[in-house]
Amino acid sequence: MIKNSIFLLGFWLLVSVNANNDESIQRGKKIYETVCFACHGKNLEGGSGFNLRDTVWVHGGTPSEILKTIKKGFPEKGMIPFETVFKENDLKDVVNFILSRQQGFKNLSYKIFQNLRADKPIEDLGLSKLKPEKSGVLKLPYLDINLPEVDWFGIQNSGILVIPESGEYLLKGILRQGSHIQMLIDGKPLKLDIQKEKWQYTFEHKVELKKGEHDFELNYVKIHKKASFHIELEKDGMTMPLSKGAFIKSQNRQIVIASTTKPVILRKRIDGLPSKTIAVAFPEKVNVAINPRNASINGLWYGEFVDIGPNVFGRGRLASLVKTPYIFSGDEGITVLENTSKAEVDYLEYSTYPQARFHFKVNDKKLSIEMTALGESLILTYRSESKQKLSLQVPEGVTLESLHGQTVNNTLIIDPKHNEKFTVKVTKKETGK
C-alpha cells in the first residue's frame, strides 16, 4: 500500500515536543516496544499500522501533529486514543523516539532527459550538465526511474539521504541493466560491481556512512525496457528501501479476511489445502473448507480465517496462510460414502442465501450440504435424493454427532429414512478426554 503522501519537510528542524534527549528517546522506546510495535512493527516498519520510520506522514508529520494522532487515535481503524492510557509526557517520549528513527530520503527531485541514448559511458553523458525536458519533486521519497513517458531517456534523482546511525551499510540493487547507472553520495561516485544473474543484474556495495544527512544523486540512462529497480540499504538485519520498487516490496503483506456478521465464502490458493478448494468462515470463528472434487469437508480450523496477502500482492505467487492449526486438512476429511464406497461426485454450485450451501450430484443423485456454526461446532445439514445407505467418514480430531445416525468405527452411519435431510454436529475432539 502506498500511503497518501504528505511530506514531512524538515522534521529534523522542528522543535521537539519534549526535552529531546537520549533519556526521553529511551523512555519512548520502552513504551513503543510494549504497545506500538504490535501494529507498527518492531522496527517501525509498519504492520497493520503505517510505517513510522520513512518520511511519509498521512496524518501530519510535525511533532505536535504526531502527538495529536497518538493522543486521539483512530478508534474506527483500531487505534485507541492513547491519551486515555498514558500521560502526555509519556506520549511525547514516544514521539521523540519515533522521530529519532527517521531514515531515508527527503527533498527528492527528478530530472528527465528525453530520447537520451546510452551510446557512451554514463560518466561521459554528463547528465548534470544537460537541460532536462521535465523536472519536479518526487511524490514519494523513493528513487523512481519509471517516470518518463518516452521509450528512451535518461533520468536523475537527487536529494538528501538521512542515515539513522553511523556504520557500514550494504547498498544492494536489483535491476535489468548492467550499466548506465551511477550513484553518488556526498558528491563521490560509488564504484558498483554489477553482476549478471539470469534475467537481471545485481550489485552489493559496502559503504561507510555517518549518522545524519548526505547528498545523494542517481543517474540512469535506459538500456533495457522499464522493469524492476530495487535499491536498498542494509545494516544489522535492518533494511531501508531506497527505490520505489523496494519500498512497495517492503510493505506489509497481510490481508486478513474475516467474517463479521455473515459467512464469507472464498476461493484462493490456501496453504495446506488442494487447488479448487472453497473455504468458508463463520462469525463464530469457525472456519471450514470443502473440496468440490469429492464433496468432502476437507479442512477445519478456529480463530483467524485466512491471510490472503501472499496470494494477492505482487504476482500472487504464494499461498494464503491459515495461521491457527488445522483440526484436520487435506484432500478429504468428512466424506460421503454410498454403501460404504466413495461415490462419483459432480460439483454444481454454491449458494450464499439463505445459508452457505453446496450442491453436488453424487452417483447422479442430488446432494446438498448446508453449513452453519453454533458456538464452536460446525453444523452440516445434508439433503440427498439417494435411496442408498449413506455414511460419513470421520476424520481424526473431531467427533460427529447426529440424531439421524450412529457412529461405528470412525464412520457415521445414517439411517436411510433420513437421507432426505440429516444434520451432523462436528465438534473438535478435546485432547486428554
Binding site: N146, K225, K226, V264, S275, G314
Partner: protein
C-alpha cells in the same frame, strides 16, 4: 487529495501522446478497495460490471458502486448476460453468478465448467469474457511458471489439464477444447463477424506479443500444451523448434515490443459507428506495461486475417488491461499495475476515454495491395510532403528463448507514390515479402495545414500476399 490526483492525471493526459479530440476521465472506484480491473462488461442499461483481481465483482449503477460478488479466485474475464447473470472466468472454474432473490447481490455461484487442470500455480490464469456466435463461452488457459513438477521445454510449463489451450463451454456446461499452443493469452475479443481473437504475451516461443485469430484445431506455437494432445513428453523433447514452426498458425499481427506493447490485454472492436472517432471496425487494445492503447486494423485474405498496428494513446494512470465500449461510444479502460509493473504510477483504477468530435490527424488505415500498400489518412495531406517517409521490414525469431530481437531489419524501397484526388489516400509500390513486419515512419508527412501526425508509425504484418 482527490483533486490533486485528478489534476495530476489531467496533466499526464495532456502531456502524453494523445490524438486531438480524445480525453481521459478518471472514474472514482470504491474507497479502500483494491480495484485491479481484470474483467469488465457493460449491460444494455449502461451498468458497468468490473471483476477485480482481488476477487470481487462490482457494479456501477447510477454512479454508485455496489459489490455484486466476492471471494472469487483472481477472475480474469467477465461478461454480463441479458438476463442479468454474470459469467466470470476465475482460476479454478468458469462461473455463472446469479442474484436469485433480487437484492442486488449474487447468491448463486454456479459452475459452468472446471474441466481443466488448475494446480495452484500463480500463472494459471483463466481468461474469458467472450461468447461465440453459437452462444458458447470461450476461455483461454495460461500455462504455468516455475513449477519443477510440470512439463515444459522452456520457461512456461504445464501439468496438463489443457493448460495453454483455448476452450469453449455451452450454456449447459458442455466443455470442448478449441485450440492449443497458447502461452499467456491475456485477452479475448471478437469482431463484428463474430470471429474470436486473442492476444498473447511475449516470451518463450513468442518473439513479440501478438494478436491471433482463434480457430478450431489450430496450434498457435507454444508446444507445452501438446502434452494434452497426441504427443508424449519424449516425443516433444525430441522435436526441434523448426518442427513446431511448421505446425503453428501465424498471428494476425506481431505487436512490436517496447514501441507498442509489452503485455497486451483484450482486443475491443470499435462498433460505435463513428461515436469514438474515425476508427470504426478496428480493434482497440490496452497494454498493461506501457499503460497505453493501440489499434489494430484487419485485412482478410482468403480465410486468413492479417493487419496493421498503430499506437493510439499513452498516459493512463495504470496498466490498461480490459476495454469495453459503452452505448455512448466511450471506451472504458480497466486497469491493473500489479505483478508486471506498469508505467502508470497507480496500482489500479478505471478510466474512460471519450471523443469530442474533433477529427485528429492520424493514419486511419493501412492496407496491403497487390504490389504495395494503401495508407488512408483522416485528413488531407500536403502534396509536397507525400514522399517524405521511410519503410523498414523485419521479422522475429520463433524459438524457445524468451522473446526475440527484431531480425533482418532493412530499409525497404518504394516507388510510384500517389495521392488520391481527395488527398487522403496514399498508395505506393513496395517489393513485398511474406512473414515480415513492414514498419512505416510518416513523421515527416504534413497535413494540408502543415501539421504532423501524433502517432507517426504503422506496423503492417504481412503473412500472405494478395
Amino acid at each position: 487529495m482527490k483533486y490533486l490526483f485528478a489534476l495530476l492525471s489531467l496533466i499526464v493526459s495532456l502531456t502524453a501522446a494523445t490524438p486531438d479530440g480524445y480525453k481521459i476521465e478518471t472514474i472514482e472506484t470504491p474507497e479502500g478497495v483494491r480495484f485491479h480491473v481484470t474483467g469488465m462488461d457493460i449491460d444494455k442499461q449502461g451498468n458497468v460490471y468490473c471483476a477485480t483481481r482481488f476477487g470481487d465483482v462490482w457494479k456501477l449503477q447510477n454512479k454508485r458502486w455496489q459489490k455484486f460478488a466476492e471471494g472469487l479466485h483472481e477472475p480474469c474475464g467477465l461478461l454480463v448476460e441479458e438476463d442479468g447473470s454474470v459469467v466470470v472466468t476465475q482460476k479454478p472454474e468458469m462461473t455463472r453468478l446469479i442474484d436469485s432473490n433480487k437484492d442486488g447481490v449474487a447468491d448463486r455461484y454456479i459452475e459452468l465448467t472446471s474441466e481443466f487442470g488448475f494446480h495452484n500455480n500463480y500463472h494459471e490464469f483463466n481468461f474469458g469474457g467472450v461468447k461465440d456466435n453459437e452462444g458458447n463461452y470461450v476461455g483461454t488457459l495460461n500455462l504455468g511458471h516455475e513449477d519443477s513438477k510440470a512439463f515444459g521445454l522452456s520457461l512456461m510449463v504445464t501439468r496438463g489439464g489443457y493448460r495453454g489451450c483455448a476452450y469453449k463451454v455451452s450454456p449447459s456446461g458442455e466443455f470442448k477444447i478449441i485450440a492449443s499452443g497458447l502461452r499467456s493469452p491475456a485477452g479475448l475479443g471478437k469482431n463484428s463477424s463474430g470471429d474470436i481473437f486473442y492476444t498473447d504475451n511475449q516470451g518463450d516461443y513468442v518473439g513479440t506479443s501478438m494478436l491471433l485469430h482463434l480457430r478450431e484445431n489450430h496450434f498457435y506455437g507454444h508446444p507445452a500444451s501438446l502434452i494434452d494432445k497426441d504427443f508424449t513428453a519424449e516425443k516433444l523433447k525430441s522435436m526441434k523448434d523448426t518442427d513446431f514452426d511448421k505446425m503453428r498458425t501465424r498471428p494476425v499481427v506481431w505487436i512490436p515490443h517496447n514501441e507498442i506493447a509489452q503485455s497486451p490485454g483484450n482486443p475491443e472492436w470499435d462498433n460505435t459507428a463513428g461515436k469514438f472517432g474515425p476508427f470504426s471496425n478496428q480493434f482497440f487494445i490496452g497494454d498493461q506495461s506501457r499503460s497505453s492503447l493501440f489499434r489494430v486494423s484487419l485485412q482478410k485474405i482468403g480465410d486468413t486475417y492479417q493487419g496493421c498496428v498503430f499506437d493510439f494513446m499513452t498516459g493512463f494512470q495504470s496498466g490498461a488491461m480490459r476495454l469495453r465500449f459503452d452505448a455512448e461510444g466511450s471506451l472504458w479502460v480497466g486497469e491493473t499495475g500489479r505483478g508486471w509493473l506498469s508505467r502508470g504510477a497507480k496500482m489500479y483504477g478505471l478510466q474512460k476515454v471519450s471523443w469530442d468530435g474533433t477529427l485528429p490527424f492520424e493514419m486511419q488505415d493501412v492496407k496491403l495491395t497487390k504490389d504495395g500498400f494503401k495508407v488512408t489518412f483522416t485528413k488531407e495531406l500536403d502534396q509536397e510532403s507525400i514522399s517524405n517517409f521511410t519503410i523498414k521490414s523485419w521479422h522475429y525469431d520463433y524459438t524457445r528463448n524468451y522473446g526475440s530481437p527484431v531480425r533482418g531489419i532493412q530499409p525497404v524501397s518504394f516507388s510510384d507514390v500517389n495521392l488520391s484526388e481527395d488527398k487522403k489516400v496514399l498508395t505506393f509500390k513496395v517489393p513485398l515479402s511474406e512473414e515480415k513486419v513492414f514498419s512505416f515512419d510518416f513523421s515527416q508527412l504534413k497535413s494540408l495545414v502543415g501539421k504532423n501526425l501524433i502517432n507517426k508509425h504503422a506496423y503492417y504484418t504481412l503473412i500472405k500476399k494478395l
